[in-house]
């Protein structure tokens, strides 16, 4: 493995992704205000029902968390990572195909997995900027009562969640290519995953029969662990099940993603459909 070569690939994917994102002035609205407003709407939805007894009801379902705004902000933050990943990393090859740059990109001697890592890194950097701004603005507007007893563990959970998300992203890249239904799937998947992963509400609120499907989504574990460790004072050992879930997802989706990418490339070469859009 030529490390310098892989570094150059990642660097190029990162830089051109960033340049294209910030090329037009509309980025300001998207980066600074969009996620903030979206989260605010969810918080206000909760506030329309807010009363001491309703907060108690919420707390029973959320494992003792009473900070509703904080609950929503954190869930929304992870949800934004998910959405950016879906439409960024996951949609990367379809974006290249529609732009007409897929063939010339595949002609380069880059390792395609490394190329996607570069794309994922750019995605992550951009998501981090927007989500940090969202969390800051929402915390200032609504308050967030953090209760962190294990900051290192929290960081580990965050890192594992992000890795799991982008492993899924790489898997989706090939999945979208193989099914030739990127737009359809990406659009469709938003709602079910938002529901099943408990991004906006405690997972205990959904019918038990859906929990199996929730467990298939890596972000479910990330959100659950992150909330417990940030708002309920849980330590890493208390969320070991979530950590195990994340780790398993990382392994499974990484393997599926890398294999899927190689298979998708081979299928594209067989069918000759890299330029078809």
């Amino acid at each position: 493995m030529n490390l310098m070569k892989e570094f150059r690939t990642i660097q190029a994917a990162f830089v051109i992704g960033m340049k294209q994102r910030f090329r037009y002035p509309t980025w300001f609205l998207h980066v600074f205000l969009g996620p903030f407003v979206y989260t605010t709407t969810t918080i206000l939805t909760y506030e329309s029902m807010m009363s001491p007894s309703s907060v108690q009801s919420f707390s029973q379902l959320s494992g003792g968390i009473t900070d509703v705004a904080g609950f929503v902000i954190l869930g929304s933050g992870i949800a934004q990572f998910w959405l950016f990943m879906l439409w960024g990393t996951g949609y990367f090859i379809e974006n290249q195909r529609s732009a007409g740059t897929l063939e010339v990109l595949f002609l380069t001697p880059t390792n395609k997995v490394v190329l996607l890592l570069g794309v994922a890194l750019e995605d992550f950097a951009y998501s981090s900027i927007t989500i940090s701004i969202m969390v800051t603005l929402c915390s200032l507007a609504f308050g967030m009562n953090l209760n962190v007893v294990d900051p290192t563990g929290l960081l580990l959970v965050f890192v594992l969640t992000v890795i799991a998300l982008y492993a899924v992203g790489i898997f989706f890249t090939s999945f979208f290519v193989l099914t030739r239904s990127a737009n359809l799937l990406a659009n469709f998947l938003q709602a079910p995953i938002e529901y099943l992963s408990g991004m906006d509400f405690p997972l205990n609120a959904i019918p038990k029969m859906f929990l199996f499907f929730s467990a298939l989504i890596p972000v479910t574990f990330g959100i659950d662990a992150f909330r417990k460790m940030s708002l309920a004072g849980a330590s890493l050992t208390m969320v070991w099940l979530d950590v195990l879930g994340l780790t398993l997802h990382i392994i499974i989706f990484s393997v599926l993603g890398i294999w899927g990418l190689k298979f998708a490339e081979k299928q594209s070469l067989k069918k000759g459909d890299m330029s078809f859009y």
Binding site: L29, T45, S48, M49, S57, F188, F201, A205
Partner: protein, 271 residues
């Protein structure tokens, strides 16, 4: 203006859009987008209300409150967000310049496209309504059809008009999806789809009351949940009418200006 000619163009564009839609609507797409997707979107919000049970407002009251707006939103969304991307989609397909060069009235074309979206919305509502009833216990309250028709019609006209401006903006910024995705949260926030206006700070309430969509959702609820007649909502209706006239003026003027800008800077073929 030759109305017969415009009508022919209108019917042709609606027909073509529907053909495209029907070809796209495979059984899988139908199940995913017409059944499952609305169920999940409804489920997300209704679950939020259910989680906050035990307070003075019952979750079912808020669920009904939200679902009426959700159904109305099917119409409004297709017009407002659709407008931003119709011309952009033509641009990406490479057919925008050909469209411009033809003697088609672009306003007629855009209205027809949005109208086709509204037909799709009707289909969507027809499916969502029974889903809302069976899955989430939604029921209408007392219904006043005249108020509903009048308020929704006025809102649609205002949104069609604003849609013209969005169409022009979409071509200039070359990222209409980003534009739609950026504006959408504000519309959701300020139009009070999920909560009553009293939740917002007073200064934001004033901003809400300047949006036609706020009145669209509010009057839909008044008509379909509370059975309010025209006289009961005359003030809101009058204000909506005024807003509609302003939107028509702004929309037509903006598109004219933006259209000129687009042709001046050669944005027709670059995307």
């Amino acid at each position: 203006m030759n109305f017969v000619k415009e009508l022919k163009v209108f019917i042709t564009v609606v027909k073509l859009s529907q053909i495209e839609r029907i070809r796209w609507m495979t059984p899988v797409n139908f199940v995913c987008f017409s059944i499952l997707s609305p169920v999940f979107w409804l489920a997300i919000t209704t679950t939020i209300y259910s989680v906050m049970a035990g307070g003075p407002i019952s979750p079912q009251t808020m669920i009904n409150f939200f679902i009426v707006a959700f159904l109305a939103d099917s119409f409004f969304r297709s017009i407002l967000w659709g407008s931003a991307v119709h011309l952009y989609n033509e641009q990406v397909a490479g057919t925008l310049e050909i469209l411009y060069v033809s003697p088609v009235n672009l306003y007629t074309w855009m209205i027809a496209k949005s109208f086709s979206g509204a037909i799709d919305a009707l289909t969507s509502i027809a499916i969502s309504l029974p889903l809302a009833y069976f899955a989430f216990g939604f029921t209408f309250g007392a219904i006043n059809g005249l108020t509903a028709i009048l308020s929704i019609s006025l809102t649609l006209v205002s949104l069609y008009s604003i849609g013209f401006a969005f169409a022009g903006i979409g071509l200039i910024i070359k990222q209409p999806w980003a534009f739609s995705n950026t504006i959408q949260p504000y519309v959701f926030l300020l139009s009070c789809i999920y909560y009553p206006i009293t939740i917002l700070p007073s200064w934001l309430q004033n901003v809400s009351r300047a949006l036609p969509t706020y009145y669209g959702y509010k009057l839909a609820r008044d008509a379909l949940l509370y059975g309010k007649g025209i006289t009961d909502v005359s003030g809101d209706l009058l204000y909506l009418t005024l807003l509609t006239l302003i939107c028509v003026f702004i929309g037509l003027l903006s598109f004219k200006y933006l259209d000129r800008l687009i042709r001046k800077h050669g944005f027709l073929s670059t995307f």
